[in-house]
C-alpha cells in the first residue's frame, strides 16, 4: 500500500519546528488513506532523527553526509527523489519554506509528477484534494490531484503539530552519490545585514507603512516588534521607497504571512497588502484615517497617530509581559 513521505528540515542536525507541521499534514492525509507516514531527514552525520515519531512519523529515514549539513539543491533533490522512488508513495509532503519551495519542484520534476504548492488544507477522504491560495490569497483553489505520486508543499503556520504516543522507528538510508561537478553548490550561509527574524516564519509580525513618514521612524516598529518577540514587516510603498529591505515586504509581491498576531502601523491596506496578511489569526491596525481599508480586516483598531499610539503600546506590552 502506498504511504506518505514527509521530507523534513533540519538546522544544525536538529529537526526544525516546521517539520512538525509537515508531519501533521502528512499524518492527516495518511489517516484518511489508512497508510503510514515516513519522515525523511537529510543532514549531517551527527544527526539522530529522534523525537519525530511522537509528531506523527511511523518511520524516520535519515540520510547522512558531511556535505548535507547545508541545503545542497541538487543532492537533496537526488536523495529525496531516490527515496520517493524506492518506497511506494502516494504523496511526498514538504514545507513551503525557502528550502521546500526549491526542493519540491526538483522532486516533482525528477518523479515526473505534479506539485501543489503552498497548500493550506489537505484531504484524502475522496482521493487526494488540497486547498491552496492563488493571487496571493485573494482567492482559494480547491484542487483534486488526479495522478500518483504527487508532491505537496504546505504553508508554514497552516497546520498545527499533533502529538501521538507512537515512538516511531529510525532507519538510515542512502546519501546519494555526490552529484555532478557542474551542480550548483551552496558554499556559504551568511547572516543578513540586519540579524532579524523572518517575517514569514514569525508568529507575531509588526508592520509599518507610509504613515511612519520616514525610514528613521521605523524604530517605533522595531521596538514594538522586539517587545512582542515578533518580526518586522513592511508595506510595498516603504520597500519601494528604499526605507526597508524587500525581505520584509508583506503582500502580493512580497511575502504572504499567517502569524497569530499581525499589527499594521500606518498602513492604509492596499488590496495587494491585504492579500499578504489576511490569513493572520488576529489583526490589529493603528491608523490616523478612520476610513482606511485596513480597519475592514482588523479585529482591533485604534484610530490615532502612530507616533503617539505606538510608544504607549510598546510600553504597555512590556508592562503586561513583565506582569
Amino acid at each position: 500500500m502506498p504511504h506518505i513521505l514527509a521530507v523534513l528540515e533540519q538546522r544544525g542536525g536538529v529537526a526544525k519546528k516546521v517539520s512538525q507541521e509537515t508531519l501533521a499534514a502528512a499524518r492527516s492525509l495518511a489517516d484518511d488513506l489508512e497508510c503510514e507516514v515516513h519522515g525523511l531527514l537529510i543532514g549531517p552525520p551527527n544527526m539522530k532523527g529522534d523525537g519525530l515519531g511522537e509528531y506523527g512519523a511511523d518511520k524516520v529515514l535519515t540520510s547522512l553526509d558531511g556535505e548535507l549539513e547545508l541545503y545542497q539543491a541538487s543532492r537533496y533533490g537526488q536523495v529525496a527523489a531516490e527515496q520517493a522512488t524506492a518506497g511506494e508513495y502516494a504523496a511526498i509532503v514538504v514545507a513551503a519554506t525557502s528550502l521546500g519551495k526549491d526542493l519540491g519542484p526538483r522532486i516533482a520534476a525528477r518523479l515526473g509528477c505534479t506539485l501543489a504548492s503552498d497548500v493550506t488544507g489537505i484531504s484524502g477522504s475522496d482521493g487526494i484534494a488540497v486547498s491552496r491560495p492563488a493571487f496571493s490569497g485573494k482567492a482559494i483553489y480547491r484542487i483534486k490531484i488526479t495522478t500518483r505520486p504527487c508532491v505537496i508543499s504546505i504553508r508554514p503556520n497552516a497546520f498545527s503539530p499533533i502529538l501521538t504516543s507512537h515512538p516511531g522507528t529510525i532507519e538510515e538510508v542512502s546519501a546519494g552519490n555526490g552529484g555532478k561537478a557542474s551542480d550548483a553548490r551552496t558554499v556559504a550561509v551568511k547572516a543578513p545585514e540586519h540579524a532579524t527574524m523572518d517575517v514569514a516564519e514569525a508568529s507575531i509580525v509588526v508592520s509599518g507603512g507610509r504613515g511612519l513618514r520616514e525610514a528613521e521612524h521605523f524604530k517605533l516598529v522595531e521596538e514594538l516588534a522586539q517587545a512582542l518577540g515578533g518580526a518586522v514587516g513592511a508595506s510595498r510603498a516603504v520597500v519601494d521607497a528604499g526605507w526597508r529591505p524587500h525581505a520584509e515586504q508583506v503582500g502580493q509581491t512580497g511575502k504572504t504571512v499567517s502569524p497569530n498576531l499581525y499589527i499594521a502601523l500606518g498602513i492604509s491596506g492596499a488590496i495587494q497588502h491585504l492579500a499578504g496578511m489576511r490569513t493572520a489569526k488576529v489583526i490589529v491596525a493603528v491608523n490616523k484615517d478612520a476610513d482606511a481599508p485596513i480597519f475592514k480586516v482588523a479585529d482591533y483598531g485604534i484610530v490615532g497617530d502612530v507616533f503617539e499610539v505606538v510608544p504607549r503600546l510598546t510600553e504597555e506590552i512590556k508592562k503586561a509581559k513583565d506582569g
Binding site: T114, R132, I140, L261, D305
Partner: protein
Amino acid sequence: MKIGVCIKRVPDTETRIKIGADGKSIDESGVKFVLNPFDEYAVEEALKLKEQAGGEVVVVCLGTEASQETIRTALAMGADSGVLLKASAVPLDPLVVARALAAELEQGAFDMILFGKLAIDDYGQAVGTMVAELLGLPSVSAITRLEVTDNTATAQREVEGALEVVEFSLPAVVTAEKGLNEPRYPALRGIMLAKKKPLEIKEVDLDQGGMEVVELTLPPERKAGRIVGEGPDAVPALVDALRNEAKVV
C-alpha cells in the same frame, strides 16, 4: 551569451478578484493584465547580462494569444526577440507548463535562462526550477544577487534569517526575487522598436496534467472587528483585549 527569459501574463496586483461563471476561474472582464512583476526582474537581469557580455535576449512565454502584448512589453524593455507558445489556456499543473517550456528552451542552446521566482496569479513557485531539472541544468531559485564571470556564476538567495551563497557553472537557470535589480521602464523609443522585433508564434497542445480544479472561491470575509478607541488612551483596552480576549500576547 545567449540568454532566455520566461515570462507570464498575469492580472495586475491591484486587481480585485471576481470569480467567473464556471466557479473555477477568475472573471477576466475589466481585469488589467501585466507582465508578471517578478519576470520584470528576470528581464532586467538578462538585459544587464547582455550589456556585460554581449549576445542576445530571447523572451519565451507560454500563454494565450493575448500574451503577445506581454512579450512586446519585454521587447520594449530591450529583449531582442520573442517566442509565444500559444495555448488555449495555461494549465495549473506546473509540470505541464515546465515540460512545454523545456521542450522549447532545449533547442535554443541558451547559456543562461531566467525566470521570475513565481507568477503572482498561481503563486506556485515551481516552473523555473522544474525546467532546470528537466533540462539537467544547475539552478538557483529566488536570487537577489547574480555575478557571472565567463562560464561560472555566483548567486545569493535569501532564506529564513540568512543568505545562501551558491556557485554554479553555465549553462544554468536562475529565478529572480524582488531586490535583484530595479527593472527599467520601456522608453518610447523602445516601444516603437519593439513593434518591429521578431515574435514567433508556435501552437502547443497541453493537457491539464494531474490537477483538476474543483472550485475557486473567495476567502471567507473576516469578521468585522471593532475600533477599540482613539489615540494613545485606547492602548490599555487594546492590550487587555489582546491578552484576555484574543489571547495572543
